[in-house]
Amino acid sequence: MHPLRDNPFFVLALPVTATALEVERQGRKWLAMLELDLPSARTYATPLGRRLRTPDAVRAAMRALNDPAQRPTFEPWAAAGAALAVDSGDGGNGDDGAGDDRYERDDAGLDPRGMTWWDR
């Protein structure tokens, strides 16, 4: 689990001071919203850009934050990274998993399809 990209605090959008009850409540809220496929639940903000939020990621985050051994390993990252988290809709390096089907393009790249004689 990447400490910034997959940080459970970012996945659940919780502060590092969140209690076990808040973790449970927030996790269930996200799972219900994902079940309804609400757009606002589909992604979460991290310092590295927006990421896709999936039910599996939410469950893994709930497990991690309820585990006393795992939780402290993510807290400093979340505390230090919270201020850096990208909140805008399209932040980051195109890291939201959406987009091109053949090429992983970053901001600097161009769609090259159709530029050669053999590519329609």
């Binding site: 209690t19 051994a69 993510f74 400093p76 053949r102 050669t116 053999w118």
Partner: protein
């Protein structure tokens, strides 16, 4: 009648040459690279007289179906590749494209089957029909003398499947093949596909250094990249030359976006100052380390080993500071939630740091990076990444060795043998990039098995071109590592195929 006879004659002659009998064991490789007899001369000798007669008849005004058929059919038989380029490939007709490419002996030379497969793949990509793509894939997998055109076809298929990494690796392998089995037309498609990959990534630095191999698109893309790459603007192409290049490039409507992007950049040389993170140095150690980590991950394209060292030092400081706080706090007695590693999770936190650093290390070429005097957390990250890569290489080498032991039952079609070699190369390069001794470590792990695979391809299966490419790669690696004994063996093997 004349036309039918001509077409039949051409088809019979071409079909007779379609499956050359495999060369006898031990035959000198010069045989393998020899161009086919100049069939196109023969074709022209057959085609030209009736074609001229038909043309003269039409010129006189005697228009009939037979004359028109001879005129058009003669052009198709005599100049098959332009017809494939102009019609069959853009319109997405794989069978017609393959048939025309197969007739084009003067275009595909020693790799006509590969050329036909390449044309079929190009047309299938344009047809958008999954069955066409499946048929083209089968054609590539059935190639029994894999040459440069077949390799480029495999790269195009990987690109079509969305596996750009495999496609790029396959294109890199083209350089290992003897140029005599990589027809110029295949080289042009290869360089254009490579240019597409680099354009998509916005890797202007690599794009401007691309050898164009006669491709107008590649020349234009490289000129644009020279303006767009901050490091390449010392000698940029001026605006009017760039416009002229664009006019000379096919698909002008599609390439206009690239021209506009390049023209929007001033041609003046950019300042060569390296990028630096904006985080103030006075920030608390943990905050600073996380900020640096975020910056480094986002700026992975311009990251250097020096940046990694700086990040490693930042993390070492942060971990020391956290350890100190933990000791001061009395090992977690009465520490509230949210206190992090102070509450006793310091080891787990350091593991997270190692994961994050290893991810960045994996992006860099650390083959000249000394681990001496580096922060312990960075050394741990690099060693962790290298161990994981070495494990993967050892498993892949063991699997190949097992397959070689199974002899005939373990043999794969040449295109899959190529793919396996490319996979091994990727794993090998991964280990070679991890630390100064990574290449030697990878070499010792992989050299015998890859050599054995190449020898089997040459001696038993007659796949001389692929075996030769593998031997050339083995020779270059033995030189890079400085393994004298292996160098002699591979020099001998390469001489056998030259």
């Amino acid at each position: 009648m004349t036309f039918v006879a001509l077409v039949l004659a051409a088809v019979i002659v071409q079909a007779a040459r379609r499956r050359p009998s495999p060369p006898p064991k031990g035959a000198r490789a010069a045989r393998l690279y020899r161009d086919p007899p100049p069939l196109f001369v023969l074709t022209w000798l057959f085609v030209l007289p009736p074609w001229l007669l038909a043309f003269a008849g039409l010129w006189r005004g005697d228009v009939d179906v037979a004359r028109v058929a001879v005129l058009v059919g003669g052009l198709v038989v005599a100049l098959p590749w332009p017809w494939a380029r102009l019609f069959a490939i853009p319109l997405g007709w794989p069978r017609a494209a393959a048939a025309l490419a197969h007739l084009a002996a003067h275009t595909w030379r020693a790799d006509r089957d590969g050329g036909a497969a390449l044309a079929a793949v190009l047309a299938a990509r344009n047809s958008g029909d999954a069955h066409d793509v499946a048929r083209a894939r089968a054609r590539v997998e059935q190639l029994d003398r894999l040459g440069g055109a077949g390799v480029v076809a495999a790269a195009l298929l990987a690109d079509h499947d969305g596996d750009v990494g495999l496609s790029a690796r396959t294109l890199e392998a083209v350089a290992c093949f003897d140029r005599r089995v990589v027809p110029p037309a295949a080289r042009r498609v290869a360089v254009e596909l490579r240019a597409q990959h680099l354009l998509a990534r916005g890797d202007w630095s690599a794009l401007r250094k691309l050898a164009p191999e006669g491709s107008r698109f590649a020349v234009f893309a490289a000129r644009c990249a020279a303006r767009l790459d901050p490091a390449g603007r010392a000698a940029p192409t001026d605006e009017w030359t760039l416009r002229l290049r664009w006019l000379l490039t096919p698909r002008r409507r599609r390439t206009r976006a690239l021209l506009t992007r390049a023209l929007a950049r001033p041609a003046a040389p950019a300042s060569a100052a390296p990028p630096t993170p904006a985080e103030p140095l006075s920030a608390p150690t943990l905050q600073r380390a996380v900020a640096l980590q975020v910056w480094s991950t986002k700026a992975a394209r311009v990251l250097t080993p020096d940046h990694l060292t700086e990040l490693g030092h930042a993390w070492a400081e942060a971990l020391d500071s956290l350890e100190q706080q933990r000791r001061t706090a009395g090992l977690g007695v009465g520490v509230p939630v949210g206190a992090g590693p102070i509450a006793g999770g310091a080891d787990g936190f350091a593991d997270g740091v190692v994961v994050a650093l290893a991810e960045l290390a994996a992006l860099l070429d650390l083959s000249r990076f000394s681990l001496v005097d580096q922060p312990a957390v960075l050394v741990r990250a690099i060693e962790r990444e290298r161990t994981a890569r070495l494990d993967a290489l050892e498993i892949a080498v063991a699997a190949l060795a097992l397959r070689l032991e199974q002899a005939d039952s373990g043999d794969l079609p040449p295109s899959l043998e190529l793919r396996e070699w490319l996979g091994l190369r990727a794993l090998y390069d991964g280990v070679a990039r991890m630390g100064a001794d990574g290449r030697a470590l990878a070499w010792q792990t992989a050299k015998s098995t890859i050599c054995e695979a190449a020898v089997r391809l040459w001696n038993v299966r007659g796949e001389h071109r692929l075996a030769h490419a593998m031997n050339r790669w083995l020779l270059s690696e033995s030189l890079a590592v400085g393994d004298e004994r292996s160098r002699e063996t591979h020099e001998f093997n390469v001489r056998c195929g030259s």
